[in-house]
């Protein structure tokens, strides 16, 4: 297999605030004064969500999960964007935003039901202002645009009141950029000046298809033709992702309209636990991206620049172990769905014909289990 060469290279003007070597650099458009404590806390997020991911993969191998979509390599984009959200902002994830879920305060166990097959999501998006995972590629970007229409109609944008003004953050992938729905969401957002930020994690691959199958120009450039700005950020730089997303969300809240952010990153793992990337890409590609690891650069900064003591890292590691244990044991004890539940939520008001089918099904299941 010949090495796959990516035609779309990171732009020189890709926003970066922390180099792969852990050096803080400045960007004129995105000033960021963030304390070392804050950076340390971002480090903690990065490590913890990576651990959640690692555990979930292990659980899948052990047959406890049917499937898992790993975020490995994308922690910087997800934590940076996730931490830029305010509590009352709303996030619309795909199926891979476990890191964003973490930032929203969603218990990792809440995410597992879908992958274990005990439910289809099963949580209330409004509890943490984090939508249910959406599997149909691109569909959620229109939901985000519609939600933003609601925000506008609620008078929750451009009032200047930080506790009132609300932004919406829609996630999608490089492959999703080709879907009609995503482009229609751009139409709605641009023409309607909606308070929505589109965050495309360009992890270079849509399963086996490199991003050039979707576009021969950088994806952030898609925005201008719809009438709003696009910016490419180093998706492995949590600080840059934080700064760029915060700015875009502020603009949205201040009625300045939408922004498209392309977080340039890499899917280090297979597409899902079902996938075999050896069929379509060389391991060497991942090796080069390993050098840009989103966690290592922060660790390097914290040790070299901020000179954090070693026991800080030990504490985070401790916490990660606890979290891992929580995920492991919690997953195994997730309740199986009841046969009733299959019918209970088909609609709010169940028609009679469905009652009969429910009774039939419930009786059958109990007979089988008897």
């Amino acid at each position: 297999m010949t090495e796959h060469v990516h035609a779309v290279q990171p732009e020189p003007d890709m926003v970066q605030l922390l180099t792969p070597e852990g050096q803080r650099v400045e960007h004129p458009d995105f000033p960021l004064d963030v304390s070392d404590e804050q950076i340390a806390s971002l480090y903690r997020d990065l490590v913890l969500v990576r651990r959640i991911d690692t555990e979930a993969i292990a659980l899948q191998r052990q047959g406890e999960l049917g499937l898992w979509a790993s975020l490995l390599g994308q922690e910087g984009a997800q934590i940076g964007a996730g931490r830029a959200l305010r509590p009352h902002d709303m996030a619309f994830p795909t199926y891979r935003e476990h890191g964003v879920a973490w930032c929203r305060g969603v218990d990792p166990l809440t995410l597992l039901g879908l992958f274990r097959g005990t439910n289809l999501g099963g949580f209330d998006p409004r509890e943490h202002n984090f939508n249910l995972y959406t599997i149909v590629i691109g569909a959620q970007t229109l939901h985000a645009a519609g939600y933003a229409m609601g925000v506008v109609r609620d008078g929750a944008v451009g009032t200047g009141d930080p506790d009132r003004d609300t932004a919406v953050l829609a996630f999608f992938g490089d492959g999703a950029s080709s879907q009609g729905d995503v482009n229609e969401a751009f139409v709605w957002a641009g023409a309607g000046n909606l308070p929505v930020v589109f965050l495309c994690q360009n992890n270079q691959w849509a399963i086996s298809e490199p991003v050039e199958r979707q576009s021969r120009v950088p994806l952030y450039q898609r925005a201008s033709g719809f009438g709003f700005p696009g910016v490419r950020v180093d998706g492995n730089d949590v600080l840059a992702c934080y700064a760029v997303t915060r700015k875009a969300l502020d603009d949205a809240r201040n009625a300045q309209g939408p922004t498209l952010i392309e977080a340039f990153t890499y899917r280090m793992n297979p597409h899902t636990t079902n996938d075999d990337p050896r069929r379509y890409r060389l391991g060497s590609e991942a090796e080069t991206w390993k050098l840009k690891d989103p966690i290592e650069r922060v660790r390097a900064y914290l040790t070299r620049e901020a000179r954090l003591p070693g026991d800080f890292f030990d504490e985070v590691e401790q916490e990660a172990r606890k979290l891992a244990e929580h995920v492991r044991s919690g997953c195994r004890t997730l309740p199986d769905p009841s046969p009733e539940s299959v019918f209970a939520n088909v609609q709010v008001n169940m028609p009679d014909e469905l009652r009969e089918q429910r009774d039939d099904f419930v009786e059958f299941v109990s007979a089988v289990n008897a």
């Binding site: 439910n119 289809l120 999501g121 099963g122 949580f123 209330d124 998006p125 409004r126 939508n131 249910l132 149909v136 569909a139 970007t141 229109l142 939901h143 985000a144 645009a145 519609g146 939600y147 933003a148 229409m149 609601g150 925000v151 506008v152 109609r153 609620d154 009609g180 729905d181 229609e184 969401a185 139409v187 709605w188 023409a191 539940s341 209970a344 939520n345 088909v346 609609q347 709010v348 008001n349 028609p351 009679d352 014909e353 469905l354």
Partner: protein, 324 residues
Amino acid sequence: MTAPMTMAKALNEGLRKAMEADSKVVIMGEDVGKLGGVFRITDGLQKDFGEDRVIDTPLAESGIIGTAVGLAIRGYRPVCEIQFDGFVFPGFDQIVNQVAKFHNRSAGLVKMPITVRIPSGGGIGAVEHHSESVETYFAHTAGLKVVACSNPSDAYWMIQDAIADDDPVIFIEPKRLYHATKAPVADAPTPLYAAKVVRPGQHVTVAGYGATVSTLLESAKAAAEDGIELEVIDLRSVSPLDMATVLDSVRRTGRLIVVHEAPRSFGVGAELAARVTEQAFYSLEAPVLRVTGYDTQYPPSRLEHEWLPNLDRVLDAVDKIMEY
């Protein structure tokens, strides 16, 4: 009883009432604002309720339905207008994969009180894609309800009840009835999901919905002259089906003819035939017969009146079913 009004006017009044009743009701679609829709069903509503509640959207059906889902999550109650039946398909994915599944996906925690209005059916001499009957696609989709109005009074009440329903409702409007006749609006509604016997008769039950109901009533008149009394049922709801009303009738008549404009195969008639045969097997004197659109693409308008179920074809079926 009000003064007589057209179905178009009744829908317009019903929408107005719904918007007055709940400030979260928003109307969205192509040309629904200043123009009042190509059929004028939303006439005057933007003027009275403002551009924030009566929204001229960009030209994309997936966008119309997809943004409605987002509005519903935010607590709104969107009423989407699809300009013509054939144009619901670009929005089909958002309806089937999102609107119909979201409540279930959320374990019942999020409601999708979305109403999708679809001017439907043929008989208006239109071009391709403007005369189709799409109800079966939605009736086969769990999580959706599908209703069709056949007269101004039902139109007025059903649109309000559909919007007030916490479940998504596909609202079929027989476009050729919009301005066909005027009738007064009853003081109280028939329950949204109940079928209605609109003409009693002891020999044959004929069931339809939307535009075909008037065809059935004409047919009943004609058949009566030959001494055959048809019991005409306006199904009103295609999903769920009010089987109690249908079965009660068929158990008396022993004969059922189902009529719809949609192609015959895998249509509503098939489902009724299956259920009635299963649930009233020993009452049936004859097999359930279907008078429907044919299994073809909708024809050029010059042939549509022959292609559509009509008085002659219904009476042929009546003769046939009486021969058993």
